[in-house]
Each structure stands twice: as C-alpha cells, then as structure tokens.
C-alpha cells in the first residue's frame, strides 16, 4: 500500500502545481494507476483475485470514458483560448 500512497501523492502533487491542462490530466491518470494497483493488491492479499480483476476492469472502462470526456473538453477549451495554460482559466473564481 505504500506504493499506492506514493503514486497518489505524485498525482496530487501534479494537480496542485502544474499549469498545463494535459499535464493536469496526466496527474489524474497517475492517481488512477495507484487506485487500480490498490484494488488488485487487496485482492491478491485476500486471495480473491477474480473479484479484484473484475473490479479493476470495470474501473478501467470507467476511466476510459472519463478520459475521453476530459480530453474533449480540453480540445474545446483550446479552440477558445488557443492555449492550454491553466492560468488563462481565471474567468470564474471558485
């Protein structure tokens, strides 16, 4: 589980510091790797690898549609601003 935590840390560090939209999404992907490792590892520990695998496969399918949606949004943002810089996304202040 230590490695899972490390992967998730890298991903969150990326989300907090990077400025490129695609880079931010790579951060999300790194987190996703940590999560699927966590699922498989806990299945392996419990000697219950089949269920862990089906969970992981479902997770990967979900991940693909999230990635597709996100990249579609990124391309649309690029069409508006001609840039991928997060600092230009300041119209809305949360």
């Amino acid at each position: 589980m230590g490695f899972v935590a490390a992967l998730i840390f890298i991903g969150i560090y990326c989300l907090l510091t990077m400025r490129n939209l695609i880079k931010l999404f790579i951060g999300v992907e790194v987190i996703a790797k940590g999560v699927s490792l966590a699922l498989i590892a806990s299945g392996f520990e419990r000697n219950n690898i089949y269920i862990a695998q089906s969970l992981t496969i479902t997770f990967i399918v979900v991940e693909v549609s999230v990635v597709a949606t996100a990249l579609a949004i990124i391309i649309n943002i690029y069409r508006h601003t001609k840039s991928l810089d997060i600092r230009k996304l300041t119209r809305l202040k949360g």
Partner: protein
C-alpha cells in the same frame, strides 16, 4: 420490478440518438417526458407496493435464470427515487422550451436520462463498488451537461468539476479497496457484519476520512466546495436545477448517509465531524451568497448553505434529526430546482444574470416572479411553506439533543438566508422597471408550467406536511435510525 428504475432510462437514453435522426425535436421531447412521467408514477404507485409486500430487496430473475443483481428498495431509497423523478419530470417539461436554442436536443436528452439512470442505480445498489460505478455514470453525464453550451465559462467550469471529481472518486476507490482488502467483500451486508465483528477502530477511522473527502467533494460540503459555485451557474438552467436539486444530494449525501449510518454505524466521533462540517457549510455558504451579484452564483452558494442544514440534521443522528435532515433534503430539492428554473427563465428573457441590471421584472413576467417568491420564502423558512417545517424540525432536534450552539447558528443562518432572498426579490422582480426590459415577455408555456408545478408542490407540502412525514419520511427515517442492524438483518442476499 425494481430494476425498471435503472433499465428504462438507460434503454431510452441509448435509443435517443436514433429517435433524434427521425425527428429532431418533437419525438425526443415527447418520449423523454413520457419516460420521466412514467418513472414518477411508477415510483409513487409501485414503489410503495413493493415495500409493503416486503420484497424490496431482491435478486433479479431473467429468462428463468438467477441473475446476480441485488437491488434494495426501502423507505430511504424510495424517498430518493421519488425526489429524483419529481424534479426530473419538472425539469424535463422545462427543457422542451429552454433547450431549443442549444441544438442537438436528442443528445441532450440522452445524457439527461443517463444521469437519471446513474442516480437511480446509485440509490438502489447494495454493493460499494456498484455505488461507485453508478456514481460515475451520473458524473460523466453531468460533466458533458455542464459543458453543453460549449461557451468558454461552461467548459472551464466543467473542467474544474471533472478534475475535482476525479480526485474525489480516487479517494472513494482507495477506501473501497481498503475495505475490500480487509473484509473480502463489498456487499453492504458483508461489510457491515465484518465491521461489527472486527471492531476495527483505525480502519473505520481511515475509511471514514477517505469517504468524507470523496463524497464531501461530491456533495460540496464546505472545505471541498470550490467547484460548485462555478459548475452550477455555468450549466444550462435546467441542468443547474438537476445538479443542485438532486445530483449533489444523491451522489454526496445519500452515499454518506447510507454508508455511515447503515454500514459503519454512527459513532459520536463521526457524528461530531459531520455536525461541524454542517455548521461550517451553513455559515460559509450563507455569508458568501450574501455578497454575490450573479443570481445563479447566489443560488449555488445558497445550495452549499442548505446542504449544511441537511448534514447537520443527519449528523445529529437522533431519529428526529434524521427526519428533519431528510425532510429538508426533499424540500431543498424542490425549491432549489424551482429557483434555478426561475433564474433560467429570467436569463433567457433578459440575457443577463446580474442582479443589479434587473429590476421590476414582476410586471413583465408575473408567473416567474410569483413562483420565485414562493421558492424564496420556502427556502428562507417562512411559515407555512415547506422549508419552514423542515428547518423547524432540525432546530427542535438540535435543542432536544442539547446542542444549543448548533441550534443558534441554524436559526441565525436562516435569518441571513431570508435576507439575501429578499434582496433577489427586490432587485430582480420588484421596484422600478428597468427601461431596457420593456419588451421582455413571460416565459413560454412549458417553462411556466413546470415552475407552477414546483411552486404548487412547495405550498402543498407546507400545508399537508403531516401526511408527507407520515407516508414518506417516517419509513425512510426508520431505515436510517435502525443503523447497522438494518443492513445486517435485511440485506442478507
């Protein structure tokens, strides 16, 4: 059959693009609204029968073969299903007129139905991982719906929403993986049983923390609320109504409540954390809402504040507190969607969301103004409208539990709420008519109809609240206050 709630919107959604090929607007409008009406009627009539005949929790049989789909329909999930179908029906009517100028109505309806299918699935699932999957169905559909206008603000808001949601689901999944690693099963029944046997304080603590991060982000409780004031105002108005009225409640509060109360069991520590989060949300939401000029942003911050009331009531954990929290959840779903629909009508008519540019619109848009007054007074808790009773129940529960500090904050914040909703009314609808809006017309037929329906429901619930409490809320409260033993005894499949 319980599975209908998931299957019908899913199948309709997948057919929608084909239907859109045949007829661009007419058929998608009709079919979507028929589907939504069907779900509403189904949840009122069949749902109660299923519960009273005691077959709410069942495995599915298909073509004579046992399929391993276990769905649970109990008082709590039925209340949620009813809320989803009620709000989505009103929103569906509203979309007939409102979505005209966005184009691709069929795809819009497909995503809308998928979001409903996802939420229905989440409410009925009896397995932690299924809860996650359906959460993601609703979430992916909602990212696209927020960005549906393809304007710059929409895209930016949707991107932020997606990023934060991705982090939220990562936390949820890590917690699920941990639970899976230690209990070897993800069915709510097995997990609840294992946690009772284990008495593993550290594991529960860790999982609760991760779930609060994850579902708290989804529900926009205060330290995790950054995405909501962007995403909800930027979306098309009917979608704002869906997101604020239903989605944050289902994917955030329903999940938190179900997991914490029915699976982990509410202990004093969790209860305290939830109550403090609730109070902070109430205050921060109300104070920031106060200083907004954009009508939809004000409504979005007010959602955060009202979510705080719900969390406060449920976190208290006494039956009366849970009852109040659930009642407020239900009421908030109705009046907040009403208010967002009002704001959408105003935005469509005038093209602006800035409160200081409006003024005197009541003369031009009497229906919108009247329904918006009903909504505002309900949310501010003015008797005898529905918001009054639910806030009153929460405050009585707090006083009964001797949590006087929380009760005082709740009362004060309700005063602030009244104040800023009066500001909306005064600036937007009453006072002198701004000359720019001399040619403004009332909202089209279906939009007015859906706003009137929601306003009437607000008034009806306010007057008939004893009946509503007895027939809808008490069964839901019983489920939750039975705690862990409910899951262990009844989810045994």
């Amino acid at each position: 059959m319980v599975f209908t709630f998931i299957l019908v919107p899913l199948v309709m959604a997948s057919l929608m693009p084909l239907i859109g090929k045949i007829s661009k607007k007419f058929l998608p409008d009709i079919l979507t609204n028929i589907t939504l009406l069907f779900l509403l009627i189904y949840s009122i009539t069949i749902g109660r029968q299923i519960i009273s005949s005691g077959t709410g929790i069942r495995q599915l049989v298909w073509l004579g073969q046992q399929l391993n789909i276990t769905l649970a329909l109990d008082g709590f999930s039925l209340l949620m299903l009813f809320l989803i179908s009620l709000v989505s029906f009103a929103v569906g009517l509203y979309c007939i007129n409102y979505m005209e100028h966005y184009g691709s109505k069929a795809v819009f309806y497909a995503l809308f139905l998928l979001m409903i299918a996802g939420m229905n699935g989440l409410v009925l699932a009896t397995d932690l991982f299924s809860i996650y999957v359906f959460l993601e169905v609703a979430a992916v559909a909602s990212y696209a719906l927020v960005a549906f206008g393809l304007g710059y603000d929409e895209l930016e808001a949707s991107f932020k929403y997606l990023m934060l949601s991705a982090v939220a689901t990562a936390f949820i999944l890590v917690s699920i993986a941990l639970i899976f690693g230690f209990t070897d099963s993800l069915r709510l029944h097995d997990v609840a049983l294992a946690f009772q046997l284990l008495n593993a304080k550290y594991l529960v603590g860790l999982c609760v923390t991760l779930f609060i991060f994850g579902f708290g982000l989804k529900a926009a409780i205060v330290p995790f609320h950054a995405w909501l004031p962007d995403a909800h105002p930027s979306a098309p108005a009917p979608i704002s109504a869906m997101l604020s009225g239903v989605l944050i409640k289902i994917s955030g509060i329903y999940a938190i409540t179900r997991i914490f109360l029915n699976v982990f069991g509410l202990n004093p520590a969790i209860s305290t954390v939830l109550m403090y989060l609730g109070v902070i949300s109430i205050l921060v939401g109300a104070i920031i809402a106060f200083s907004q000029n954009d009508i939809k942003r004000m409504l979005a911050y007010s959602s955060i504040s009202q979510i705080g009331y719900i969390i406060l009531g449920i976190g208290l954990g006494t039956p009366l507190g849970i009852l109040g929290g659930l009642f407020h959840l239900f009421n908030h779903g109705i009046f907040k969607s009403l208010l967002f629909l009002n704001s959408g009508a105003v935005e469509q008519a005038t093209g602006t969301r800035a409160l200081d540019k409006m003024g005197g619109l009541a003369k031009r848009m009497p229906i919108t103004a009247a329904t918006s007054v009903v909504g505002s007074l309900s949310i501010a808790g003015v008797p005898p409208l529905n918001g009054f009773w639910s806030k009153l129940i929460i405050i009585i529960a707090l006083v009964q539990a001797k949590a006087y500090g929380f009760a005082i904050v709740a009362v004060l914040a309700s005063g602030i709420t009244l104040w800023y909703y009066l500001i909306i009314q005064r600036q937007a609808f009453f006072g002198k008519l701004n000359e720019t809006w001399n040619n403004v017309k009332e909202a089209p037929f279906w939009m007015s109809a859906s706003m009137i329906i929601l306003a009437l429901i607000c008034i009806a619930i306010g007057i008939l609240f004893p009946i509503i409490i007895k027939s809808w809320l008490v069964p839901a409260t019983n489920v939750l206050s039975a705690g862990v033993y409910y899951t262990i005894n009844l989810f045994r499949f």
